[in-house]
Symmetry: C2
Subunit: 231 residues, 2 copies
Protein backbone atom coordinates (compact mmCIF):
# COMPACT_ATOMS: atom_id res chain seq x y z
CA UNK A 1 0.00 0.00 0.00
CA UNK A 2 2.93 2.34 0.63
CA UNK A 3 3.34 3.04 -3.08
CA UNK A 4 -0.04 4.70 -3.38
CA UNK A 5 -1.20 5.71 0.09
CA UNK A 6 0.92 7.39 2.74
CA UNK A 7 2.38 5.29 5.54
CA UNK A 8 2.76 7.00 8.89
CA UNK A 9 6.51 6.63 8.74
CA UNK A 10 6.61 8.67 5.52
CA UNK A 11 4.75 11.68 6.80
CA UNK A 12 6.20 14.19 9.22
CA UNK A 13 4.21 16.61 11.36
CA UNK A 14 2.50 19.26 9.27
CA UNK A 15 0.46 22.40 9.96
CA UNK A 16 -3.25 22.56 9.29
CA UNK A 17 -4.06 23.84 5.82
CA UNK A 18 -7.40 25.42 4.99
CA UNK A 19 -9.19 24.70 1.75
CA UNK A 20 -12.26 26.27 0.18
CA UNK A 21 -14.09 23.65 -1.85
CA UNK A 22 -17.44 22.20 -2.76
CA UNK A 23 -18.76 18.64 -2.66
CA UNK A 24 -19.35 18.53 -6.42
CA UNK A 25 -16.29 20.42 -7.72
CA UNK A 26 -14.04 18.19 -9.82
CA UNK A 27 -11.11 20.56 -9.22
CA UNK A 28 -11.54 20.53 -5.43
CA UNK A 29 -11.86 16.74 -5.55
CA UNK A 30 -8.39 16.43 -7.17
CA UNK A 31 -6.77 18.52 -4.44
CA UNK A 32 -8.68 16.69 -1.68
CA UNK A 33 -7.35 13.35 -2.96
CA UNK A 34 -3.78 14.67 -3.00
CA UNK A 35 -4.04 16.02 0.54
CA UNK A 36 -5.32 12.67 1.76
CA UNK A 37 -2.77 10.59 -0.20
CA UNK A 38 0.01 12.71 1.27
CA UNK A 39 -1.45 12.47 4.75
CA UNK A 40 -1.64 16.26 5.16
CA UNK A 41 -3.90 17.78 7.80
CA UNK A 42 -6.46 20.22 6.40
CA UNK A 43 -9.93 21.55 6.97
CA UNK A 44 -12.35 22.30 4.17
CA UNK A 45 -14.93 25.06 4.01
CA UNK A 46 -17.68 24.22 1.58
CA UNK A 47 -18.75 27.06 -0.72
CA UNK A 48 -22.35 26.73 -1.96
CA UNK A 49 -21.95 27.04 -5.73
CA UNK A 50 -25.69 26.69 -6.39
CA UNK A 51 -26.37 29.66 -4.10
CA UNK A 52 -23.64 31.64 -5.90
CA UNK A 53 -21.47 32.03 -2.80
CA UNK A 54 -18.37 31.86 -5.03
CA UNK A 55 -19.35 35.29 -6.36
CA UNK A 56 -19.76 36.91 -2.91
CA UNK A 57 -17.32 39.82 -2.35
CA UNK A 58 -15.71 38.01 0.61
CA UNK A 59 -14.89 35.00 -1.54
CA UNK A 60 -13.79 37.13 -4.52
CA UNK A 61 -11.14 38.55 -2.18
CA UNK A 62 -9.81 35.00 -1.80
CA UNK A 63 -10.12 34.09 -5.46
CA UNK A 64 -11.05 36.87 -7.91
CA UNK A 65 -12.01 34.15 -10.38
CA UNK A 66 -14.89 33.10 -8.12
CA UNK A 67 -13.89 29.44 -8.36
CA UNK A 68 -12.87 26.63 -6.03
CA UNK A 69 -10.52 25.26 -4.84
CA UNK A 70 -8.49 27.85 -2.97
CA UNK A 71 -5.94 26.60 -0.45
CA UNK A 72 -4.29 28.46 2.43
CA UNK A 73 -0.99 27.04 3.66
CA UNK A 74 0.20 29.09 6.62
CA UNK A 75 0.24 32.85 6.28
CA UNK A 76 0.83 33.10 2.54
CA UNK A 77 -1.76 34.28 0.03
CA UNK A 78 -4.28 31.69 -1.23
CA UNK A 79 -3.17 29.13 -3.76
CA UNK A 80 -5.56 28.65 -6.69
CA UNK A 81 -5.96 26.44 -9.78
CA UNK A 82 -6.00 22.75 -8.96
CA UNK A 83 -2.99 21.68 -11.06
CA UNK A 84 -0.87 24.53 -9.66
CA UNK A 85 -1.85 23.42 -6.15
CA UNK A 86 -0.95 19.81 -6.93
CA UNK A 87 2.51 20.89 -8.14
CA UNK A 88 2.94 23.08 -5.05
CA UNK A 89 2.11 20.17 -2.74
CA UNK A 90 4.53 18.00 -4.72
CA UNK A 91 7.33 20.54 -4.38
CA UNK A 92 6.85 21.44 -0.72
CA UNK A 93 5.30 18.55 1.22
CA UNK A 94 6.29 15.04 2.20
CA UNK A 95 4.21 11.96 1.68
CA UNK A 96 3.86 9.73 -1.34
CA UNK A 97 5.08 11.31 -4.62
CA UNK A 98 2.28 11.98 -7.11
CA UNK A 99 4.50 12.56 -10.12
CA UNK A 100 7.09 10.10 -11.50
CA UNK A 101 10.79 10.92 -11.12
CA UNK A 102 11.59 10.52 -14.84
CA UNK A 103 10.99 13.76 -16.84
CA UNK A 104 9.32 12.01 -19.80
CA UNK A 105 7.03 10.06 -17.49
CA UNK A 106 6.24 13.28 -15.61
CA UNK A 107 5.42 14.95 -18.93
CA UNK A 108 3.07 12.12 -19.89
CA UNK A 109 1.33 12.18 -16.49
CA UNK A 110 0.92 15.95 -16.79
CA UNK A 111 -0.32 15.72 -20.38
CA UNK A 112 -2.99 13.19 -19.38
CA UNK A 113 -3.94 15.38 -16.41
CA UNK A 114 -4.25 18.45 -18.65
CA UNK A 115 -6.33 16.60 -21.22
CA UNK A 116 -8.93 16.51 -18.43
CA UNK A 117 -8.22 19.67 -16.44
CA UNK A 118 -7.63 22.00 -19.42
CA UNK A 119 -9.44 20.56 -22.41
CA UNK A 120 -12.47 18.83 -20.88
CA UNK A 121 -13.56 19.97 -17.43
CA UNK A 122 -13.59 23.77 -18.10
CA UNK A 123 -16.19 23.19 -20.82
CA UNK A 124 -18.89 21.96 -18.43
CA UNK A 125 -18.53 24.16 -15.34
CA UNK A 126 -21.61 26.10 -14.12
CA UNK A 127 -20.58 29.45 -15.64
CA UNK A 128 -20.42 27.87 -19.12
CA UNK A 129 -23.68 25.93 -18.75
CA UNK A 130 -25.46 29.06 -17.50
CA UNK A 131 -24.10 31.21 -20.31
CA UNK A 132 -25.28 28.76 -22.97
CA UNK A 133 -28.80 28.54 -21.52
CA UNK A 134 -29.14 32.30 -21.10
CA UNK A 135 -27.39 33.68 -24.20
CA UNK A 136 -28.87 31.14 -26.61
CA UNK A 137 -32.16 30.56 -24.83
CA UNK A 138 -31.48 26.82 -24.66
CA UNK A 139 -33.58 24.59 -22.44
CA UNK A 140 -31.44 22.56 -20.04
CA UNK A 141 -31.77 19.32 -22.00
CA UNK A 142 -30.45 20.89 -25.21
CA UNK A 143 -27.60 22.60 -23.35
CA UNK A 144 -26.67 19.22 -21.86
CA UNK A 145 -25.76 18.05 -25.34
CA UNK A 146 -22.74 20.36 -25.12
CA UNK A 147 -21.80 18.92 -21.72
CA UNK A 148 -22.07 15.32 -22.92
CA UNK A 149 -20.06 16.16 -26.04
CA UNK A 150 -17.29 17.59 -23.86
CA UNK A 151 -17.23 14.45 -21.70
CA UNK A 152 -17.33 12.12 -24.68
CA UNK A 153 -14.54 13.95 -26.53
CA UNK A 154 -12.30 13.90 -23.47
CA UNK A 155 -13.08 10.31 -22.50
CA UNK A 156 -12.58 9.03 -26.05
CA UNK A 157 -9.09 10.57 -26.29
CA UNK A 158 -8.23 9.38 -22.79
CA UNK A 159 -9.34 5.82 -23.66
CA UNK A 160 -7.32 5.83 -26.90
CA UNK A 161 -4.19 7.06 -25.17
CA UNK A 162 -4.44 4.82 -22.11
CA UNK A 163 -5.22 1.71 -24.15
CA UNK A 164 -2.46 2.21 -26.75
CA UNK A 165 0.47 3.99 -25.09
CA UNK A 166 3.26 2.02 -23.49
CA UNK A 167 3.30 4.18 -20.35
CA UNK A 168 -0.01 2.89 -19.00
CA UNK A 169 0.22 0.40 -16.14
CA UNK A 170 -1.93 -0.33 -13.14
CA UNK A 171 -2.55 3.43 -13.12
CA UNK A 172 -2.54 6.03 -15.92
CA UNK A 173 1.24 6.40 -15.78
CA UNK A 174 2.92 3.18 -14.71
CA UNK A 175 2.10 1.46 -11.44
CA UNK A 176 1.88 4.43 -9.08
CA UNK A 177 -0.84 7.04 -8.64
CA UNK A 178 -0.08 10.37 -10.32
CA UNK A 179 -1.80 13.67 -11.10
CA UNK A 180 -3.18 11.94 -14.21
CA UNK A 181 -5.26 9.62 -12.01
CA UNK A 182 -6.55 12.41 -9.80
CA UNK A 183 -7.84 14.16 -12.92
CA UNK A 184 -9.14 10.95 -14.51
CA UNK A 185 -11.18 10.10 -11.43
CA UNK A 186 -12.49 13.67 -11.13
CA UNK A 187 -13.86 13.30 -14.68
CA UNK A 188 -15.11 9.77 -14.12
CA UNK A 189 -17.33 10.58 -11.14
CA UNK A 190 -18.88 13.35 -13.26
CA UNK A 191 -20.27 10.78 -15.71
CA UNK A 192 -22.81 9.70 -13.09
CA UNK A 193 -23.69 13.29 -12.15
CA UNK A 194 -24.23 14.31 -15.80
CA UNK A 195 -25.64 11.04 -17.19
CA UNK A 196 -22.77 10.19 -19.55
CA UNK A 197 -22.53 6.62 -20.88
CA UNK A 198 -19.34 4.88 -19.70
CA UNK A 199 -19.34 1.56 -21.58
CA UNK A 200 -17.07 2.79 -24.44
CA UNK A 201 -14.19 3.52 -22.04
CA UNK A 202 -13.08 0.24 -20.41
CA UNK A 203 -9.47 1.27 -19.71
CA UNK A 204 -10.55 4.54 -18.10
CA UNK A 205 -13.09 2.53 -16.07
CA UNK A 206 -10.47 0.01 -14.91
CA UNK A 207 -8.11 2.73 -13.69
CA UNK A 208 -10.93 4.74 -12.07
CA UNK A 209 -12.12 1.67 -10.18
CA UNK A 210 -8.58 0.81 -9.10
CA UNK A 211 -8.19 4.32 -7.73
CA UNK A 212 -11.58 4.47 -6.04
CA UNK A 213 -10.81 1.25 -4.16
CA UNK A 214 -8.06 3.16 -2.30
CA UNK A 215 -9.14 4.83 0.96
CA UNK A 216 -7.88 8.33 0.03
CA UNK A 217 -9.92 8.40 -3.17
CA UNK A 218 -12.99 6.89 -1.49
CA UNK A 219 -12.88 9.36 1.41
CA UNK A 220 -12.39 12.32 -0.95
CA UNK A 221 -15.33 11.27 -3.17
CA UNK A 222 -17.88 14.03 -3.83
CA UNK A 223 -20.77 11.98 -2.47
CA UNK A 224 -19.06 11.72 0.92
CA UNK A 225 -18.67 15.50 1.38
CA UNK A 226 -21.06 17.82 3.26
CA UNK A 227 -23.73 19.20 0.96
CA UNK A 228 -23.89 16.16 -1.32
CA UNK A 229 -27.39 14.80 -1.97
CA UNK A 230 -28.28 11.75 0.13
CA UNK A 231 -29.30 9.65 -2.90
CA UNK B 1 18.87 41.05 -21.35
CA UNK B 2 20.17 37.86 -19.76
CA UNK B 3 17.27 37.77 -17.30
CA UNK B 4 14.68 37.25 -20.03
CA UNK B 5 16.45 36.05 -23.16
CA UNK B 6 19.12 33.37 -23.32
CA UNK B 7 22.75 34.40 -23.55
CA UNK B 8 25.05 32.13 -25.52
CA UNK B 9 27.03 31.32 -22.41
CA UNK B 10 23.90 29.92 -20.73
CA UNK B 11 22.96 27.46 -23.46
CA UNK B 12 24.85 24.27 -24.17
CA UNK B 13 24.72 22.26 -27.38
CA UNK B 14 21.32 20.67 -27.93
CA UNK B 15 19.77 18.30 -30.50
CA UNK B 16 17.16 19.44 -32.98
CA UNK B 17 13.62 19.02 -31.68
CA UNK B 18 10.64 18.70 -34.00
CA UNK B 19 7.38 20.44 -33.28
CA UNK B 20 3.97 20.15 -34.92
CA UNK B 21 2.20 23.48 -34.67
CA UNK B 22 0.09 26.03 -36.50
CA UNK B 23 0.55 29.76 -37.04
CA UNK B 24 -2.65 30.61 -35.14
CA UNK B 25 -2.54 28.11 -32.27
CA UNK B 26 -2.22 29.82 -28.90
CA UNK B 27 -0.87 26.61 -27.36
CA UNK B 28 1.82 26.18 -30.04
CA UNK B 29 2.73 29.86 -29.63
CA UNK B 30 3.48 29.32 -25.91
CA UNK B 31 5.85 26.45 -26.65
CA UNK B 32 7.49 28.32 -29.54
CA UNK B 33 8.27 31.25 -27.22
CA UNK B 34 9.82 28.92 -24.62
CA UNK B 35 11.99 27.17 -27.22
CA UNK B 36 13.25 30.53 -28.45
CA UNK B 37 13.80 31.99 -24.95
CA UNK B 38 15.82 28.91 -24.02
CA UNK B 39 17.79 29.04 -27.27
CA UNK B 40 16.81 25.49 -28.24
CA UNK B 41 17.14 24.35 -31.85
CA UNK B 42 13.86 23.05 -33.35
CA UNK B 43 12.00 22.81 -36.58
CA UNK B 44 8.25 23.28 -36.84
CA UNK B 45 5.84 21.52 -39.16
CA UNK B 46 2.69 23.55 -39.66
CA UNK B 47 -0.55 21.57 -39.51
CA UNK B 48 -3.40 23.17 -41.49
CA UNK B 49 -6.19 23.34 -38.91
CA UNK B 50 -8.66 24.91 -41.34
CA UNK B 51 -8.19 21.99 -43.74
CA UNK B 52 -8.68 19.56 -40.83
CA UNK B 53 -5.20 18.04 -41.11
CA UNK B 54 -5.15 17.60 -37.33
CA UNK B 55 -7.79 14.87 -37.78
CA UNK B 56 -5.84 12.96 -40.44
CA UNK B 57 -4.96 9.40 -39.37
CA UNK B 58 -1.22 10.12 -39.67
CA UNK B 59 -1.51 13.02 -37.24
CA UNK B 60 -3.85 11.14 -34.89
CA UNK B 61 -1.03 8.64 -34.47
CA UNK B 62 1.12 11.49 -33.15
CA UNK B 63 -1.60 13.02 -31.00
CA UNK B 64 -4.86 11.07 -30.65
CA UNK B 65 -6.48 14.29 -29.46
CA UNK B 66 -6.00 15.82 -32.90
CA UNK B 67 -4.51 18.98 -31.41
CA UNK B 68 -1.27 20.95 -31.65
CA UNK B 69 1.37 21.33 -30.33
CA UNK B 70 3.15 17.99 -30.30
CA UNK B 71 6.90 17.98 -29.71
CA UNK B 72 9.46 15.29 -30.48
CA UNK B 73 12.67 15.42 -28.47
CA UNK B 74 14.99 12.67 -29.69
CA UNK B 75 13.58 9.16 -30.03
CA UNK B 76 10.95 9.34 -27.30
CA UNK B 77 7.21 9.42 -27.93
CA UNK B 78 5.65 12.80 -28.73
CA UNK B 79 5.10 15.27 -25.92
CA UNK B 80 1.66 16.91 -25.89
CA UNK B 81 -0.27 19.58 -23.96
CA UNK B 82 1.47 22.94 -23.92
CA UNK B 83 1.85 23.32 -20.13
CA UNK B 84 3.23 19.78 -19.79
CA UNK B 85 5.74 20.57 -22.55
CA UNK B 86 6.75 23.81 -20.80
CA UNK B 87 7.40 21.91 -17.56
CA UNK B 88 9.35 19.24 -19.45
CA UNK B 89 11.58 21.88 -21.06
CA UNK B 90 12.04 23.47 -17.64
CA UNK B 91 13.08 20.17 -16.08
CA UNK B 92 15.36 18.91 -18.85
CA UNK B 93 16.90 21.81 -20.78
CA UNK B 94 19.29 24.64 -20.09
CA UNK B 95 18.68 28.26 -20.91
CA UNK B 96 16.85 30.92 -18.98
CA UNK B 97 14.50 29.57 -16.26
CA UNK B 98 10.82 30.18 -17.01
CA UNK B 99 9.54 29.41 -13.51
CA UNK B 100 10.68 31.14 -10.29
CA UNK B 101 12.74 29.17 -7.78
CA UNK B 102 10.43 29.87 -4.81
CA UNK B 103 7.57 27.34 -4.54
CA UNK B 104 4.90 29.94 -3.74
CA UNK B 105 6.01 32.13 -6.63
CA UNK B 106 6.05 29.07 -8.89
CA UNK B 107 2.50 28.26 -7.75
CA UNK B 108 1.34 31.78 -8.54
CA UNK B 109 2.99 31.75 -11.98
CA UNK B 110 1.36 28.39 -12.70
CA UNK B 111 -2.03 29.53 -11.41
CA UNK B 112 -1.95 32.57 -13.71
CA UNK B 113 -0.86 30.35 -16.61
CA UNK B 114 -3.71 27.91 -15.94
CA UNK B 115 -6.28 30.69 -15.68
CA UNK B 116 -5.54 31.15 -19.39
CA UNK B 117 -4.58 27.66 -20.54
CA UNK B 118 -7.27 25.74 -18.62
CA UNK B 119 -10.14 28.12 -17.97
CA UNK B 120 -10.11 30.44 -20.98
CA UNK B 121 -8.40 29.18 -24.13
CA UNK B 122 -10.09 25.73 -24.33
CA UNK B 123 -13.46 27.49 -24.59
CA UNK B 124 -12.75 29.12 -27.95
CA UNK B 125 -10.83 26.47 -29.91
CA UNK B 126 -12.19 25.41 -33.35
CA UNK B 127 -13.83 22.18 -32.12
CA UNK B 128 -15.95 24.14 -29.62
CA UNK B 129 -16.86 26.90 -32.08
CA UNK B 130 -17.85 24.33 -34.70
CA UNK B 131 -19.93 22.32 -32.23
CA UNK B 132 -21.88 25.39 -31.13
CA UNK B 133 -22.64 26.45 -34.71
CA UNK B 134 -23.66 22.97 -35.83
CA UNK B 135 -25.50 21.60 -32.79
CA UNK B 136 -27.42 24.80 -32.03
CA UNK B 137 -27.68 26.09 -35.61
CA UNK B 138 -26.03 29.38 -34.60
CA UNK B 139 -24.79 31.78 -37.24
CA UNK B 140 -21.12 32.66 -36.76
CA UNK B 141 -21.82 36.09 -35.31
CA UNK B 142 -24.05 34.71 -32.56
CA UNK B 143 -21.57 31.95 -31.75
CA UNK B 144 -18.86 34.59 -31.44
CA UNK B 145 -20.69 35.95 -28.39
CA UNK B 146 -19.55 32.82 -26.56
CA UNK B 147 -15.96 33.35 -27.70
CA UNK B 148 -15.93 37.00 -26.63
CA UNK B 149 -17.49 36.07 -23.28
CA UNK B 150 -14.70 33.54 -22.70
CA UNK B 151 -12.03 36.13 -23.49
CA UNK B 152 -13.69 38.80 -21.36
CA UNK B 153 -14.13 36.51 -18.37
CA UNK B 154 -10.49 35.39 -18.50
CA UNK B 155 -9.08 38.86 -19.15
CA UNK B 156 -11.15 40.42 -16.38
CA UNK B 157 -9.88 37.96 -13.78
CA UNK B 158 -6.34 38.28 -15.07
CA UNK B 159 -6.53 42.10 -14.87
CA UNK B 160 -7.90 41.96 -11.30
CA UNK B 161 -5.22 39.59 -10.13
CA UNK B 162 -2.30 41.30 -11.87
CA UNK B 163 -3.35 44.77 -10.73
CA UNK B 164 -3.98 43.85 -7.08
CA UNK B 165 -1.64 41.01 -6.12
CA UNK B 166 1.76 41.76 -4.63
CA UNK B 167 3.54 39.25 -6.85
CA UNK B 168 3.15 41.27 -10.05
CA UNK B 169 6.25 43.10 -11.25
CA UNK B 170 7.63 43.98 -14.65
CA UNK B 171 6.13 40.66 -15.71
CA UNK B 172 3.17 38.62 -14.39
CA UNK B 173 5.26 37.09 -11.60
CA UNK B 174 8.01 39.45 -10.49
CA UNK B 175 10.60 40.80 -12.85
CA UNK B 176 11.39 37.72 -14.93
CA UNK B 177 9.44 36.04 -17.71
CA UNK B 178 7.53 32.93 -16.59
CA UNK B 179 4.96 30.48 -17.94
CA UNK B 180 2.33 33.00 -16.84
CA UNK B 181 3.58 35.50 -19.44
CA UNK B 182 3.72 32.93 -22.24
CA UNK B 183 0.05 32.17 -21.58
CA UNK B 184 -0.92 35.83 -21.11
CA UNK B 185 0.60 36.79 -24.46
CA UNK B 186 -1.00 33.79 -26.21
CA UNK B 187 -4.38 35.10 -25.02
CA UNK B 188 -3.56 38.72 -25.80
CA UNK B 189 -2.73 38.18 -29.46
CA UNK B 190 -6.09 36.39 -29.79
CA UNK B 191 -7.96 39.60 -28.95
CA UNK B 192 -7.00 41.01 -32.37
CA UNK B 193 -7.89 37.77 -34.17
CA UNK B 194 -11.31 37.54 -32.51
CA UNK B 195 -12.15 41.25 -32.23
CA UNK B 196 -12.13 41.50 -28.44
CA UNK B 197 -11.94 44.97 -26.86
CA UNK B 198 -8.72 45.45 -24.86
CA UNK B 199 -9.15 48.86 -23.21
CA UNK B 200 -10.46 47.46 -19.88
CA UNK B 201 -7.25 45.51 -19.24
CA UNK B 202 -4.36 48.00 -18.89
CA UNK B 203 -2.15 45.81 -16.68
CA UNK B 204 -2.51 42.84 -19.01
CA UNK B 205 -1.72 45.19 -21.91
CA UNK B 206 1.39 46.57 -20.21
CA UNK B 207 2.81 43.10 -19.57
CA UNK B 208 1.89 41.83 -23.05
CA UNK B 209 3.62 44.80 -24.68
CA UNK B 210 6.70 44.36 -22.46
CA UNK B 211 6.91 40.72 -23.55
CA UNK B 212 6.27 41.37 -27.24
CA UNK B 213 9.15 43.85 -27.30
CA UNK B 214 11.53 40.95 -26.60
CA UNK B 215 12.94 39.21 -29.71
CA UNK B 216 11.86 35.69 -28.69
CA UNK B 217 8.21 36.72 -28.31
CA UNK B 218 8.27 38.83 -31.48
CA UNK B 219 9.82 36.04 -33.56
CA UNK B 220 7.36 33.46 -32.20
CA UNK B 221 4.34 35.71 -32.94
CA UNK B 222 1.55 33.99 -34.92
CA UNK B 223 1.63 36.59 -37.69
CA UNK B 224 5.28 35.80 -38.41
CA UNK B 225 4.69 32.06 -38.97
CA UNK B 226 4.10 30.33 -42.32
CA UNK B 227 0.42 30.21 -43.20
CA UNK B 228 -0.51 33.47 -41.45
CA UNK B 229 -2.51 35.92 -43.55
CA UNK B 230 -0.45 38.74 -45.04
CA UNK B 231 -2.68 41.49 -43.63
Amino acid sequence: MCDVVPCETDVGPVGMMKMYGNWRSAAAFRVRIALKLKGLAYEETFIDLDAGDQHAPEFRKINPQGAVPALFDGDGPPLTQSLAILDYLEETKGGVPLLPADPRERARARSLAQLVACDTHPLYVPRVRNYLMEAYDLPKERMMGFVRHAFETGLKTLETRLSTEDGTGRFSQGDAVSHADLCLVSLWVGTAIFGVETAPYPTVARIAETCLALPAFAEAHPKRQPGAPAA
